[in-house]
C-alpha cells in the first residue's frame, strides 16, 4: 500500500516533468520538493498501520489472556448442555420374554396462555381432542391463569410427539420417566411397582433394585449453533449401555389362567382372598404366583396399601391337612411306620385333656397310611405321630425349616412360627395337633417349598422368581447364586408319599382335580383360622396341593382360598377345581405327555 500510494503520487507528477522539456536539472529540483512530503505521508500511513496493528495485538492480548478464562467459561456455558440421556431401568420380562415392566419417557405438560399465538378457544379446540379433555374446561383453565397451567402430569410419548409436531407456542413439555406395566395387574404381586421417585416399592422391583437400576450419569456435551450435539467432551462409553433385562421364571400364560380360575372360584364362594402358586420343584423356580385381590401397578396410588405386600410370602397361616404328607414322610423316614401299616380310626382320639376328631365327624375304622391321607383322617395322623418321640419329631420339624427364616427373592418374606421346644415337648397335645397341620404357622410359599421336597426326591429348594439377567439375544449374563438344596428325605420315601398322595386324587378327597390321562398326586386341606384366643368359628382356609406328573413328579401347584363362604366349603370343593384348571394349562404349556390312556382315566 505504501508503495502504490507513492507510486501514484509520482505518476501524477510525471506528465508535468515530461512536458516541461525534460531537462535533468529541472526534474531534480522537483524531486527535492516532493520526496520529503512522500516520506512524511509514508510515515503517517506506516504509523497508522502500525498503530492499528498494535491496537489489534493489544485487543488480542486482552481477549486471549486477560479475559480469556472468563470468556471461555461463558462460551462453554452457552455451548455445553447438561444432558441426562435416557438410561432406563432395566425391563422385566417373563420366561417367554414377554415384557412385564418397561421404562418409558412421559411428559408433564404445562400451558402458558400468555405465549399462545392463537386465541384461547382455538388452542383449547386443538388440544381437547388430543388430550382427551373437555374443550370448555380447557378454555376456562386458559383464562384463569397467564402461565404455568398443568394440563397433564404424565403424557405418553406418542401424544407428546403429536403435540410437538403441531408446533404450537406456549406449551411446555418436561420429560420424566415412568415405569409401565403392559400386563397391568397380571403379575403385580411378583413384579411390584416403582414409585414416583423411581424406587421399587414392592415385589421384584423392590428386592432386585440392584439388578434393575442402571446408573444414570449426567453428561456434558457441547452443542453447535443449530442445536445439534457434538461428540467432543462426550465421556468414554457414553452411548454404550447394556441391553440386559431381568428375566423372571414366571410364565404369564399360566399366570393368566391361574388368575382367572382363582377369580372365578373366589367369586363363586365370595372368598376373602386366594392364591395360586406353581413351582418347578426341580429347581424351585415359580411359574406362577397369583394372589387375589391385587392391584394395577400402573395406578398404584389408587390401590389398597395392604395389597402391596405379597401375602403368599408375608402372611402366616396354619396349613392344616396339606401338611399331613410331610408328617407321613417324617414318620416313614424315621422308620416309625411302614407304608403298609394299619391304623384304627374310631372317629376320635383322646390326647391328654383334649379330644381330637375327624373333620366331618366320620369314622374310618381300620385304614392304612395311604387311606389316612385319602380321607384326611386326623385321628390316624395323631396315631402315626404318637409313634415318634416328640423330641425327634420336633427335630424333624426344625429340619424342614419351621421356625426359621425363609429364603426367597421376593421381598418381605417372614419366618414361620413353631412353638419353642419346651412348649412343644411340654404337652402331648402339641405334637398331636401338629400332626394334622395346626398349632404352627407358615407362609403358603414355604409350604410349597416343603411339598417340593417330596416332588424332587427329598431336597429343599429355594423358591424364586428371578431367573437371570439376560441380554436381548437371550444370553445369560448374571444369575443369582442360591443356597444349595438341602436333602431332607430320601428319594424312595418321597416317591412313596407321592404314590400315596396319588390315591388321594384317584380315590380320596381330591377327586375334583383329576385330569384324564394323567397321574396327579394331591392333598386337600381345610384348616381352621387361628384368631385371638382360639380358632375362629366357621372361618376356614381351603387349600389343595397338586403334584404332577405323579410318576415323575416335577410341578407342585398350591391353590389356597381364604374364608370361602357357603355350604360344603372344603379344599376338595373350593381349591381343587382351581388347581385342576391350572394343571391343565400347565400340561399344555409345558407339553407334558399323558402317562395313562385317556379312556381308562377314572372319572
Amino acid at each position: 500500500m505504501q508503495k502504490s500510494s507513492s507510486r501514484r503520487k509520482l505518476r501524477t507528477h510525471t506528465p508535468g516533468t515530461h512536458q516541461r522539456g525534460g531537462s535533468p536539472p529541472g526534474s531534480d529540483a522537483h524531486h527535492d520538493v516532493v520526496l520529503p512530503k512522500t516520506k512524511s505521508r509514508v510515515l503517517i500511513v506506516w504509523g497508522v498501520l502500525i498503530a492499528a496493528g498494535a491496537g489489534l495485538a493489544f485487543n488480542l492480548y486482552h481477549l486471549q489472556i486477560v479475559c480469556g478464562p472468563k470468556l471461555t467459561e461463558k462460551a462453554r456455558s452457552q455451548q455445553m448442555v447438561n444432558l441426562r440421556p435416557f438410561i432406563p431401568r432395566r425391563p422385566v420380562v417373563d420366561r417367554n420374554n414377554d415384557v412385564l415392566a418397561i421404562d418409558r419417557p412421559v411428559y408433564t405438560l404445562y400451558a402458558h396462555p400468555k405465549l399462545f399465538e392463537q386465541s384461547n378457544e382455538k388452542m383449547a379446540h386443538k388440544l381437547a381432542s388430543i388430550l382427551n379433555q373437555d374443550q370448555s374446561e380447557l378454555e376456562k383453565k386458559f383464562q384463569s391463569k397467564r402461565s404455568g397451567i398443568l394440563l397433564s402430569p404424565a403424557l405418553p410419548e406418542e401424544i407428546a410427539d403429536r403435540l410437538n409436531s403441531m408446533r404450537l407456542n406456549g406449551l411446555e413439555f418436561i420429560q420424566k420417566y415412568s415405569r409401565f406395566y403392559p400386563e397391568q395387574d397380571l403379575v403385580s404381586e411378583v413384579v411390584g411397582y416403582v414409585n414416583i421417585d423411581r424406587r421399587g416399592q414392592a415385589g421384584v422391583e423392590y428386592s432386585q433394585e440392584k439388578l434393575l437400576e442402571r446408573s444414570v450419569q449426567t453428561v456434558r456435551l457441547s452443542r453447535s449453533g443449530n442445536g445439534a450435539l457434538m461428540p467432543n467432551y462426550a465421556p468414554e462409553g457414553f452411548l454404550h449401555f447394556d441391553d440386559l433385562q431381568l428375566q423372571l421364571t414366571i410364565d404369564s400364560r399360566l399366570q393368566r389362567t391361574a388368575r382367572s380360575a382363582l377369580k372365578q372360584q373366589m367369586d363363586k364362594f365370595s372368598a376373602k382372598r386366594g392364591t395360586v402358586i406353581v413351582m418347578d420343584a426341580w429347581d424351585g423356580s415359580l411359574l406362577a404366583l397369583v394372589s387375589q385381590p391385587t392391584y394395577n401397578p400402573n395406578d398404584y396410588s389408587k390401590a389398597d396399601i395392604s395389597l402391596f405386600k405379597n401375602w403368599t410370602v408375608a402372611d402366616l397361616y396354619e396349613p392344616g391337612s396339606t401338611f399331613k404328607p410331610l408328617n407321613v414322610a417324617i414318620a416313614l423316614e424315621t422308620g416309625a411306620i411302614k407304608p403298609e401299616d394299619m391304623f384304627n380310626d374310631p372317629g376320635f382320639i383322646q390326647v391328654a385333656d383334649r379330644t381330637i376328631k375327624d373333620a366331618k365327624g366320620e369314622r374310618f375304622g381300620r385304614i392304612n397310611v395311604a387311606q389316612i391321607l385319602q380321607h384326611s383322617s386326623n385321628v390316624g395322623m395323631v396315631q402315626i405321630i404318637q409313634r415318634l418321640k416328640p423330641s425327634v419329631y420336633y427335630g424333624w420339624l426344625e429340619r424342614l425349616g419351621l421356625g426359621q427364616t425363609f429364603d426367597t427373592d421376593l421381598p418381605f418374606a417372614v419366618s414361620s412360627q413353631l412353638k419353642s421346644q419346651e412348649q412343644f415337648l411340654g404337652s402331648p397335645v402339641e405334637a398331636a395337633t401338629t400332626s394334622f397341620g395346626q398349632g404352627f404357622s407358615l407362609t403358603p410359599i414355604q409350604l410349597l417349598q416343603m411339598i417340593g421336597a417330596l416332588a424332587n426326591g427329598g431336597k429343599l429348594v429355594t423358591p424364586h422368581v428371578v431367573r437371570a439377567l439376560v441380554d436381548t439375544k437371550g444370553q445369560i449374563h448374571y444369575s443369582p447364586t442360591r443356597a444349595a438344596p438341602r436333602q431332607i428325605f430320601s428319594s424312595a420315601i418321597s416317591q412313596k408319599v407321592i404314590e400315596m398322595m396319588e390315591t388321594v386324587v384317584d380315590e380320596g378327597t381330591g377327586k375334583a382335580s383329576q385330569i384324564s390321562g394323567y397321574h396327579i398326586a394331591g392333598k386337600t386341606g381345610t384348616a381352621q383360622i387361628a384368631g385371638r384366643g382360639g380358632y375362629i368359628r366357621g372361618a376356614y382356609i381351603t387349600s389343595f396341593l397338586g403334584i404332577l406328573p405323579a410318576e415323575s413328579p416335577r410341578y407342585v401347584v398350591l391353590a389356597l382360598v381364604d374364608q370361602p363362604k357357603g355350604k360344603n366349603v372344603y379344599g376338595g370343593t373350593v381349591a381343587a377345581p382351581i388347581a385342576k384348571s391350572v394343571m391343565e394349562a400347565l400340561i399344555s404349556i409345558e407339553q407334558i405327555p399323558p402317562s395313562r390312556p385317556m379312556s381308562q382315566a377314572p372319572e
Binding site: 515530461h18 425391563p91 415384557v99 418397561i102 403392559p182 390321562g517 406328573p549 390312556p597
Partner: protein, 243 residues
C-alpha cells in the same frame, strides 16, 4: 533466481517480466541511494551522448522513462561491465522511443541469441542455488501441508456433524424401539383380555384337546407310551417329544 530461469526458458514472457522486475528493484534502490544529490549517474552518460531521440532517457527522476529504457535492456543484468552495456544501448538507440514498446520487444526477442546470458549464472554461488532449491521444495511441501491440514481440519468438523446426525438417528431408533415394545405388550394384554371374554368363543387349551404323538419306537422293544412301565415314562417326561 532469474538467472536459473533464463537458462531454461529463453525469451518467454515470464522470463521477461522477472528480469524487468529484478532490475527495477535493484535499480531503484541504487538510484535512490545515489541520485538524489548526484544529478546523473555516470552510466547514463553514454546513452545521452548517443541518444538523439530521447531527451533524457536515463534521468533519475523520470522513473517512467527509466522503466521504459530498462524494458529495452531486458536481457542485461545490472552488474554488466561498461563496454557491453554501452554496446547494447547504442545498438538499440533508434528504437528506444517511449511509444514504440511493442517493436522494442520484438526486436529484443529477435536479438536474443546474440546476447550471452548463460555466463552470468556462474556468478551465483552454489549455496544460493541450493538455498533456492530448498526454498522451492519447502514451498511445495508447505503447500501440501497446508492442504492436508485443511482437509484434516475439515474432516474433524464434518465428522462431528456426522456424529451428531448419527446420534439423533440413534435416539430416534431407541424411541421407536421403546414404542414398539410398549405397544406390543399392550396389544398382547388386550388380545388376552379379549380372548378371556366368554363372547370371544375361545377356550384355553386342555390336555383332552391336545394330540400327543407317541415316541417313535427305538431299538428292539418298540413300546407305545400307553403301556410303558413307570421308569420309562419318567425318562419320557424329562424330554417330552412334543404334541
Amino acid at each position: 533466481m532469474a538467472v536459473a530461469r533464463k537458462s531454461d526458458i529463453s525469451a518467454t514472457g515470464s522470463w521477461f517480466r522477472t528480469a524487468i522486475q529484478n532490475r527495477r528493484n535493484r535499480r531503484s534502490t541504487n538510484l535512490q541511494k545515489q541520485s538524489t544529490h548526484q544529478k546523473i549517474p555516470t552510466k547514463s552518460v553514454p546513452v545521452r551522448s548517443k541518444g538523439n531521440v530521447i531527451s533524457s532517457p536515463v534521468s533519475v527522476t523520470d522513473t517512467l522513462q527509466k522503466r521504459k529504457v530498462s524494458i529495452q535492456h531486458h536481457q542485461v543484468p545490472l552488474p554488466l561491465e561498461k563496454p557491453r552495456w554501452e554496446r547494447l544501448v547504442s545498438s538499440r538507440v533508434e528504437v528506444t522511443s517511449p511509444r514504440a514498446e511493442a517493436t522494442t520487444e520484438l526486436s529484443s526477442q529477435d536479438s536474443l541469441p546474440s546476447i550471452p546470458v548463460m555466463p552470468n549464472s556462474r556468478k551465483f554461488p552454489s549455496w544460493l542455488l541450493r538455498l533456492y532449491a530448498i526454498h522451492r521444495h519447502s514451498s511445495v511441501a508447505a503447500f501440501l501441508f497446508v492442504t492436508v491440514t485443511l482437509v484434516v481440519y475439515g474432516w474433524t468438523v464434518y465428522s462431528q456433524q456426522l456424529w451428531s446426525q448419527a446420534y439423533r438417528k440413534l435416539q430416534d431408533l431407541q424411541h421407536h424401539e421403546r414404542q414398539l415394545t410398549t405397544i406390543n405388550g399392550e396389544l398382547k394384554e388386550k388380545m388376552a383380555q379379549d380372548a378371556q371374554r366368554p363372547a370371544a368363543g375361545l377356550v384355553s387349551p386342555t390336555p383332552s384337546g391336545t394330540i400327543f404323538l407317541p415316541r417313535s419306537p427305538v431299538g428292539l422293544n418298540p413300546v407305545s407310551p400307553n403301556t410303558t412301565p413307570n421308569s420309562e415314562i419318567q425318562q419320557q417326561t424329562v424330554n417330552p417329544v412334543g404334541y
